[in-house]
């Protein structure tokens, strides 16, 4: 099939950027979206033009490196599917596709469709872990964990950190990302110990990195390639309220 692409081209972070039209000819329905772009790029390179820069690595939907907005939807039209696993059979011949980078103040464009998601790393660095040293830990079965809690933790821990939630959010909020980590660790006894400190530090860092606030639109859940639920945002809110209760260590901001 043949497609018309309008792709965001921006030489570097200082360039203004614009949409450029490309024709993708003879696209196989078995191609993934990124393979379609690979083929377009091969054509551009041979013509001596600068290929479209985009991030990708594992190409099996788990590393979270890829991500573009296709016709207004991060990772494209298919539910629970990353761009690298989105196949062209879900498009129609002669479709016109607008391909843009993830947009948010906290995700500045580096080049074309590549954005800097370092702010996510910063949020994790502010407290998205259990503060345990290597060595000296008890046997894995010392603390029993109800299956339901372990499953809930896993549901939240599946987040791949791709940033689609931020890209889709009208407020550029990283609440789903932050909530997934807060909820994952709060559901486990190992993570419970620091739960109050963590939720305060991570939400503060989120704001400090320039992300917006959550307005409960749930657009994030709709585009999340891993199906992370907004119930985890409610869980984060609960954890935050709990952290404010008297008796908790003071929650005074960036830890």
């Amino acid at each position: 099939m043949n497609l018309t692409l309008y792709v965001w081209r921006q030489k570097n972070s200082k360039d203004k950027g614009r949409l450029v039209r490309y024709e993708a000819k003879n696209v196989s329905t078995d191609m993934s979206f990124l393979e379609m772009l690979d083929v377009v790029n091969e054509g551009l390179i041979v013509k001596g033009e600068d290929p479209i820069a985009f991030d990708s690595d594992c190409r099996e939907g788990i590393c979270g490196m890829c991500g573009q907005v296709v016709n207004g939807v991060p990772h494209g039209p298919r539910k629970k599917t990353t761009l690298c696993q989105l196949h062209m059979r879900h498009f129609k011949d002669n479709d016109t596709l607008y391909i843009e980078p993830f947009r948010a103040k906290a995700f500045p464009v580096i080049k074309d469709l590549i954005v800097d998601r370092g702010a996510f790393d910063k949020i994790i660095q502010s407290g998205g872990y259990v503060s345990v040293h290597t060595g000296g830990v008890p046997d894995g079965n010392t603390l029993l964990i109800p299956k339901h809690d372990a499953d809930t933790a896993m549901d939240a821990a599946e987040c791949i950190g791709c940033g689609a939630c931020v890209a889709a959010c009208p407020n550029g909020s990283a609440m789903l990302f932050t909530a997934a980590k807060v909820s994952h660790l709060a559901a486990l006894p190992q993570g419970r110990v620091e739960a109050a400190r963590r939720v305060c530090a991570m939400t503060e860092e989120m704001l400090a990195q320039g992300f917006g606030n959550c307005s409960n639109h749930y657009e994030c859940e709709a585009v999340c390639p891993k199906g992370i639920k907004v119930k985890f945002i409610a869980k984060l809110n609960r954890e935050f309220i709990k952290a404010q209760m008297p008796g908790n260590e003071s929650c005074t901001g960036r830890g």
Partner: protein
């Protein structure tokens, strides 16, 4: 204490104040519904016999309004700053019209509120029908006359219906959203709260509209 400054704290302030105002919205229409039983004037007199309740309530509402608007504006500005560039092509999968326009329905409601207060509380928009200067047969301020005379003008009723629609949309997103902010959602309760919030918002809209509409249609006469 991060309540007034943090991202969740600000949202919680929105939720508390919003819920206070929503509760008021319910009692306001419940009380005003005495108009259908020709008991509005009596209800108002009875209400004013509880000055502590009235003035305490007004204070709480005033504070709720101020904080709701303040935090709403702050959040909106922050959110706007966090998403400086729009997409060339936008498509929403789940975000509702109501939710995305919360700030604008809020602005409409706020402007309307000023008008509403000037009209019926301070009674300055039309002194000819001001209740305080026009007692009824029992010597009470004739609230009913004031309301009925005002709403008989189709323009005023129109303004009310449009503003109430904005309020309805505001509640449509606001009610369910406030429960999420309080952390009262999980997979099972989320759809229930969403549906309940929607039903309550729509009911309140129709309930409120019933007064001007009934007057315009001549169903409610003196």
């Amino acid at each position: 204490m991060l309540l007034p400054t943090s991202t969740v704290g600000k949202k919680i302030m929105m939720a508390i104040t919003g819920q206070v105002l929503a509760i008021f919205i319910f009692f306001h229409i419940a009380g005003n519904s005495t108009i259908f039983f020709h008991a509005l004037n009596g209800y108002v007199v009875a209400l004013y016999k509880l000055p502590l309740f009235v003035w305490g309530g007004r204070l709480v509402l005033f504070l709720a309004f101020v904080f709701h608007i303040w935090y709403g504006t702050v959040l909106k500005l922050e959110n706007h700053a966090a998403k400086p560039e729009p997409y060339a092509k936008t498509r929403y999968l789940q975000a509702t019209f109501a939710g995305r326009n919360q700030i604008w329905t809020g602005v409409i409601v706020a402007v309307f509120l000023i008008y509403h207060l000037l009209q019926f509380t301070f009674q300055v928009t039309n002194p000819a029908v001001a209740a305080d200067t026009h007692p009824d047969a029992l010597g009470r301020p004739d609230i009913f006359m004031m309301v009925a005379q005002s709403f008989r003008q189709i323009g005023i009723s129109g303004v009310y219906v449009v503003s109430l629609a904005a309020l309805g949309l505001h509640l449509l997103h606001g009610i369910q959203s406030s429960f999420q902010t309080w952390g009262m959602n999980n997979e099972r309760t989320l759809p229930v709260i969403e549906k309940t919030g929607n039903v309550v918002s729509v009911l309140l809209f129709f309930w409120y509209c019933a007064i001007p509409v009934a007057i315009v249609l001549g169903l409610l006469k003196g």
